[in-house]
């Protein structure tokens, strides 16, 4: 016990009283640990961060009718099976043929919040429609009809009933809040709320489909789809193009980060080994002296290993703090959102740092035991 105390006293003295020398060694260990813990943080955070990025590319799951009709209530029930925190948006759509100035146009009823979330790449000149009496017009429609934001538009619907004599046109008036540009077929439609759609056409809970944007990996997504499909009210399918490319990009990115981590680890080892070699070289005399006063090879190894590992411990602690700061900076600057702190990473970094310092100190320390006390003590 007393021996252990002296041992600790010695290696602490070596680190603290030889500060200027040790600071270089500590720095190399700490930088290695910083980059290591930073990269591992990023490695584990990439799926989450990238998931959020990918959600900009639109829906990755579609609900359609599994039987004759798809009801809004069924869509909501099915969507409830997906955890809220992963649900970026749900946009049900109902399409009907209507007429504007006697020309047929397709009208889409949807939830503007859901549509905004599932189709973040849609660009609206003006504002989104938000409630009753407001409408958003696709760019193609706006061009053919020369419609501008702020215009009042009359929309006509002719109910299709068996009793054609009773047919009277339904008419609603809408203010155009914005012109929609997507580069796709959406520019051919006009958009209103589901309630307005029901009022204009006929009261119905029916929707044609629902688009969902879910922040989850490919496997989880197909899990959700299976669960929903098992319930039989709704048919859920994945937008394969999106989910597959997400998975590919993620795998590649993680592989890249892993590769960089391994390279950094190797560089750290070389750096620490070089430092330890220098430490041993400049302390040949001390090693000779220790041997002369009775130190065995094993105690020399133990002392230098102790110093190395203590260095690893300090470096690891400094590194895991700086590593988090580093990863946080990367996260904020690259992904625009902050990092989740993983407490487990602290002990892992510290242990890895101790192990790396220990392993890379092995060779130089081995050479320390070969010092011949007689030669070293002979004189300058």
């Amino acid at each position: 016990m007393k021996k252990r105390k002296m041992f600790l006293r010695m290696i602490f003295a070596s680190l603290l009283r030889r500060r200027s020398r040790m600071i270089v060694a500590l720095l190399s260990v700490a930088i290695g640990a910083t980059i290591l813990s930073g990269l591992v943080s990023i490695y584990y955070d990439v799926p989450r961060q990238m998931g959020a990025q990918f959600r900009n590319y639109g829906a990755n799951m579609i609900f359609t009718a599994s039987g004759d009709e798809l009801e809004l209530a069924a869509v909501n029930n099915a969507a409830a099976l997906i955890p809220d925190e992963e649900k970026v948006g749900v946009a049900p759509y109902r399409y009907e043929n209507v007429r504007v100035r006697d020309i047929p146009v397709v009208a889409a009823g949807t939830d503007p919040e859901g549509a905004k979330a599932t189709s973040p790449y849609w660009s609206v000149d003006g504002n989104w429609f938000t409630g009753a009496g407001e409408m958003m017009v696709g760019a193609n429609v706006a061009e053919s009809f020369r419609i501008k934001t702020g215009d009042m538009l009359e929309v006509t619907y002719t109910p299709m009933t068996d009793d054609s004599a009773a047919d009277a046109d339904n008419v609603s008036y809408f203010t155009v809040t914005g012109i929609l540009q997507t580069g796709g077929s959406e520019e051919n439609y006009i958009y209103m709320t589901l309630d307005d759609m029901s009022a204009l056409t006929y009261e119905s809970d029916r929707v044609d489909l629902a688009e969902l944007s879910i922040s989850a990996g490919a496997e989880e997504l197909s899990g959700y789809a299976d669960k929903i499909n098992a319930a039989d009210d709704v048919h859920a399918s994945l937008v394969k193009r999106v989910t597959a490319s997400e998975a590919t990009v993620l795998t590649k990115l993680q592989a890249l980060v892993l590769l960089v981590t391994i390279v950094v680890l190797a560089l750290t080892m070389i750096c620490v080994a070089t430092t330890m070699t220098a430490v041993v070289a400049e302390r040949r005399k001390e090693i000779g002296l220790r041997k002369a006063i009775g130190a065995s090879d094993r105690s020399i190894i133990r002392e230098f290993m102790g110093e190395g590992m203590l260095l690893g411990l300090f470096g690891g602690i400094v590194g895991s703090v700086l590593g988090f700061v580093f990863a946080e900076q990367v996260s904020v600057n690259v992904f625009g959102s902050s990092l989740i702190f993983r407490p487990l990473l602290v002990p892992i970094t510290v242990i890895a740092s101790i192990a790396v310092t220990g392993i890379s100190s092995l060779m130089p320390i081995k050479s320390a035991t070969e010092v011949d006390p007689a030669l070293v003590l002979k004189g300058e």
């Binding site: 021996k3 105390k5 010695m10 001390e286 002369a292 006063i293 130190a295 007689a374 002979k378």
Partner: protein, 230 residues
């Protein structure tokens, strides 16, 4: 049986005979000086007696054990248990305090004991310097720390290679007085020196020349006190 006996010891480097057929005996409790010109093999002999080197030929019996046949590992153990070393350049671990340097010898020998180490420093008159680093001590003080370290484990023999080589007369006297104290307590001392005044203090002086023992002078009126001519 003598404490130390060298029988026809050679140390040969290439065609250089650093030690050339040296035989000698040192009895327990004796104080012996070794003199000789530079390069005559004094340090070579001390390294062999101190278990830091092995002879090319011959036997070295320390306490009845032939150390010329022992493994490096055993030599370390023997050195630790039986020998106290003092060098010309006061070799101390520069980041350990005087006290810690003394405790280091205890640490490798058995158990560090701060109180005992402090007593050893007291014996060399450095109790008040215990917490100083070597760089904060004068040369004489550093050498006294080395003496304290050499005597801390009660070695059978203290080997000192030019212990006063870098000291002024005042410190020389302090160190020689310490040797005298150790001698009266029964410690065997072998002291290499260039300085006739230091050599004369011992009971016996051996002179080496080109690796051979060339002369032996017995000090008839031994007092153990240094006597300066000037």
């Amino acid at each position: 049986m003598s404490l130390l006996e060298l029988k026809n010891v050679y140390k040969i480097y290439g065609d250089l005979h650093a030690l050339d057929d040296v035989s000698l005996k040192v009895e327990k409790g004796e104080w012996v000086s070794i003199m000789g010109p530079s390069g005559s093999g004094k340090s070579t002999m001390m390294n062999i007696i101190g278990c830091m080197d092995k002879p090319s030929k011959g036997e070295v019996l320390l306490d009845g054990v032939d150390i010329s046949k022992e493994s490096k590992k055993n030599l370390t153990t023997i050195r630790r248990d039986k020998i106290g070393l003092i060098f010309q350049q006061f070799h101390l671990v520069n980041y350990l305090t005087a006290l810690e340097n003394v405790m280091l010898a205890q640490y490798y020998h058995s158990m560090p004991d701060e109180k005992e180490a402090l007593e050893a420093l007291e014996r060399v008159g450095l109790a008040d310097r215990a917490k100083h680093l070597p760089s904060q001590l004068s040369g004489g003080e550093q050498q006294r720390v080395c003496v304290a370290r050499a005597l801390i484990n009660y070695p059978e023999i203290i080997l000192a290679d030019e212990p006063t080589g870098n000291l002024d007369e005042a410190n020389e006297e302090i160190v020689v007085d310490l040797f005298h104290k150790l001698h009266t307590e029964g410690t065997t001392l072998i002291v290499v020196t260039h300085d006739p005044e230091v050599a004369e203090v011992a009971q016996r002086t051996l002179v080496l020349r080109s690796g051979k023992l060339s002369k032996e002078v017995v000090n008839e009126n031994f007092t153990g006190k240094i006597h300066f001519d000037s």
